[in-house]
């Protein structure tokens, strides 16, 4: 991928472009993009996560108070609902989520089943404080998932022990607290991490330039594209081993993958759900290479469609629908290729 000829070619192009300019043009102001992405996309994704994690907490409390099939289903639905904004935040895994240990607390994998069984069989009071002090592999989305679904997705209300209900409620309370903290750390009224993005290039921001902030965002997109294409899909698929499938208990993997690609779409197009002004990285790219902009948007939509077109569960398709899985994987890798070969170089030259 690192052919010297390509590098040389790029050098020459830039050299020509730069030498032709005789006057210094003022740097373009990317504030509209950075403002929209941080205020409307990132902050609203975390707000949604906070709200839905709180709803999951309520649902697991209700399940503990009144264990019945309907409440179990509500809790499972609430888990998947909270999982959606989280997976849609994985296209920007920088800042507090990365620096303050929140990612491992929210989304550790795999579950430490041996320790979990020892906790459940032990006598510790299952409070949020107790769980907050445990390793990430004893809490977060996947521990909740394991408890809600069991290993074979056949778990019924009668299969739960009283301590499992307690653990679920406490674990969901910690998840809700982590999600609230994540939102608070970004929010202007709280930790105000958002100021780093809004004031990129100014004193006090960790970004020495607006370009550096845009590079961070674009890099983060390629990281998640890589993780989905070469990790989350590839590991269970290439090794034909579902113990490597991340959300295998809930069979939520297809939604996980699609939402990860949506996180790319959200940052690229500048929109989360109904929020945002459609001023995302796309606006920066379109001004410079309209065809590339259209191509990436098309590739993103194609990848989401291909993931959702995989028949049945991902686990089943790994063995019985290799062509559909392979097609989705190829389309995700295409996004990664475009980000790395075309988008990142273009942004690095801003």
């Amino acid at each position: 991928m690192h052919k010297p000829s390509i590098i040389l070619l790029l050098s020459v192009i830039v050299l020509f472009a730069a030498c032709k300019k005789t006057e210094v043009t003022p740097d373009e102001d990317f504030s509209p993009v950075l403002t929209n992405l941080s205020e409307n996309v990132i902050l609203n994704t975390y707000l949604d996560l906070k709200d839905k994690a709180s709803a999951l907490q309520t649902a697991t409390q209700n399940l503990e108070a009144d264990p019945n099939t309907a409440n179990l289903e509500i809790a499972r639905t609430a888990w998947a609902a909270a999982r959606s904004p989280w997976e849609q935040s994985e296209g920007f895994l920088f800042g507090p989520v990365d620096q303050e240990g929140l990612d491992p607390s929210l989304d550790s994998w795999p579950v430490n089943v041996t320790d979990l069984n020892n906790v459940l069989n032990g006598g510790n009071a299952l409070t949020p404080e107790f769980l907050q002090a445990q390793e990430g592999t004893l809490k977060g989305f996947h521990t909740i998932e394991y408890l809600l679904w069991g290993t074979d997705s056949q778990k019924a209300v009668a299969d739960f022990t009283a301590r499992e209900f307690e653990y679920l409620a406490a674990c969901s309370a910690v998840l809700a607290s982590d999600a609230a903290q994540l939102y608070e750390r970004w929010a202007p009224a709280g930790g105000d991490y958002i100021a780093n993005v809004l004031n990129a290039g100014k004193t006090g921001s960790i970004y020495p330039s607006q370009k550096a902030a845009l590079e961070e965002m674009a890099n983060a997109l390629s990281i998640i594209a890589d993780e989905v294409g070469n990790g989350k899909i590839n590991d269970p698929f290439s090794q034909q081993d579902l113990s490597l499938e991340e959300s295998r208990f809930s069979n939520n993997s297809k939604a996980d993958f699609a939402n990860n690609i949506r996180s790319i779409k959200n940052i690229y197009t500048g929109k989360y759900l109904t929020f945002g002004t459609l001023t995302g990285l796309s606006a920066v790219i379109a001004d410079r290479d309209a065809a590339l902009d259209v191509r990436l948007k098309t590739e993103i939509d194609a990848a989401i469609a291909a993931i959702e077109a995989i028949p049945g569960t991902f686990g089943d398709a790994v063995f019985n629908n290799a062509s559909a899985v392979s097609d989705a994987q190829t389309k995700v890798r295409t996004i990664q290729q475009t980000l790395e070969s075309d988008i990142l170089p273009l942004i690095s030259k801003l």
Partner: protein
């Protein structure tokens, strides 16, 4: 969270500058920008330490990607379907928990701080097997404050902070803070006279290049008894090489206590994560302790290949290029760096020899280290010997990429125990053989001190 991708080197800027200004002769910085020779990547953002060698081939890149996944993998208690073997005692459950974004870590801000990458090496006076540190009965060679569920950790980390004020010649002052660490609530009484060495997780990029520097080149920089009388010794550490079964030159770790990346990685699995390995460290690190229970099988936890693949990650991570070298303040700073004699230990340029990973071979690199031990004075001393490294001696820390430390992790701290919040504090802590250089810095006017720091920031 995987961090593998390729950066297109920004050679462009260099070529551009050189060709657009033909009429005047500008200093040529093109070589200085190549911190890692052809391996150098050009990124100044928060993921600057996460790129593979720029010149790595397809097979190397595939292995790097596989290794990246292992570096970030969280391990769990055995028995487990996947990634079992954690503990019974440990510091953290994944490599990246300490090596945050592959950079420096930070000491804990509170006793329950989970994000810290600080650990405490322990020993009793004297030397142990193969001349290494003598383990503490009941605690081993490292303090492990965590245990798998139901287990008994070795104790709790506690500390007392101490401050001292440094006065600059021009009147300004700087306040330096350090922590003295101790173990509270030990699971069994601690023997008297234990030696503690706090160690903050160092950055892990560029290590393959340092491994590829020929031993004779490093030894040529050594001056153990200061025969040339310049006040600077430079002493090689001689440590036990597990794979070779003999003593070898130490290169890695704060006191150069490990000879190879494979062994350094196996030690980290063993000591930091409680994960035993085939061939390197087949026994649990807590073997022989009364709290070494649970999660133990007879077999080592991970295969030899798992250790070596994980080591490949650090081996194949590229150093980032410096920035802003043309800036007059940075140029002035570099001159002051040389004037102060910082380069006597922070040797700017080394050359690699042949390495099995060919991308690393025969590169001219600018790591700013001699990989040798130096007496750093009483204030930095841990007073704990590590093979031939004495209690006041530390290996010269590489300075490449140091200016990006807090871009990568705003909470990151400098020096072996993370006591320095800024590069200025790190400079001011230097003593011993570096005392003269530190005094040179202390006596500079503010704007010249700022220039020297601007040079470090540009690296």
């Amino acid at each position: 969270m995987m961090n593998t991708r390729l950066a297109i080197p920004a050679l462009t800027v260099v070529i551009l500058l050189a060709s657009c200004k033909k009429e005047t002769v500008e200093p040529d910085f093109s070589d200085d920008y190549k911190a890692g020779g052809a391996t150098t990547i050009h990124s100044a953002g928060p993921d600057a330490y996460t790129f593979p060698l720029a010149n790595i081939d397809g097979a190397g890149l595939a292995r790097h990607t596989e290794a990246d996944a292992l570096f970030e993998q969280q391990f769990v208690t055995a028995p487990a379907i996947r990634f079992g073997g954690l503990g019974p005692l440990f510091n953290q459950n994944a490599c990246q928990s300490c090596h945050i974004r592959n950079g420096r870590s930070q000491p804990p801000v509170s006793p329950s701080d989970q994000a810290s990458g600080l650990l405490i090496r322990l020993s009793v006076p004297g030397s142990g097997e193969h001349g290494g540190p003598a383990p503490v009965p009941g605690f081993g060679g490292q303090f492990q404050p965590k245990a798998i569920f139901g287990g008994v950790p070795e104790g709790k980390l506690a500390w007392t902070e101490m401050q001292q004020i440094v006065q600059f010649l021009d009147g300004g002052t700087a306040t330096l803070t350090r922590a003295e660490y101790r173990i509270e609530e030990p699971y069994q009484p601690l023997p008297q006279g234990i030696l503690y060495s706090p160690r903050n997780a160092p950055p892990v990029f560029g290590l393959g290049l340092l491994e590829a520097v020929p031993e004779e080149d490093i030894l040529a920089l050594a001056d153990e008894n200061d025969a040339d009388g310049d006040g600077i010794s430079g002493k090689p550490n001689r440590v036990w090489d597990v794979a070779a079964g003999r003593t070898a030159l130490g290169r890695f770790g704060w006191k150069a206590g490990s000879p190879t990346l494979d062994q350094q990685t196996a030690e980290a699995f063993s000591q930091d994560m409680g994960i035993s390995s085939v061939f390197y460290f087949p026994q649990e690190s807590c073997t022989g302790q009364s709290n070494c229970t649970g999660g133990i099988g007879d077999e080592p936890d991970i295969a030899r290949e798992t250790v070596e693949t994980t080591a490949f990650y650090a081996m194949s991570l590229a150093p980032p290029a410096p920035r802003n070298l043309e800036d007059p303040q940075v140029q002035r700073g570099k001159m002051l760096f040389l004037d102060a004699g910082c380069n006597n230990c922070h040797v700017p340029t080394l050359t690699t020899g042949n390495h099995p990973l060919s991308a690393l071979s025969y590169q001219t690199i600018h790591p700013y280290t001699d990989l040798l031990l130096h007496d750093m004075g009483e204030d930095l001393a841990d007073n704990r010997p590590d093979f031939e490294a004495g209690g006041r001696e530390w290996r010269t820390a590489p300075l490449w990429g140091v200016g990006l430390t807090q871009v990568v992790n705003p909470n990151a701290r400098f020096l072996h125990d993370g006591r320095a919040a800024t590069l200025e504090e790190a400079v001011l802590w230097h003593g011993g053989e570096a005392e003269e250089s530190r005094e040179h810095f202390r006596k500079l006017p503010a704007e010249e001190r700022a220039a020297l720091l601007a040079f470090l920031k540009a690296l």
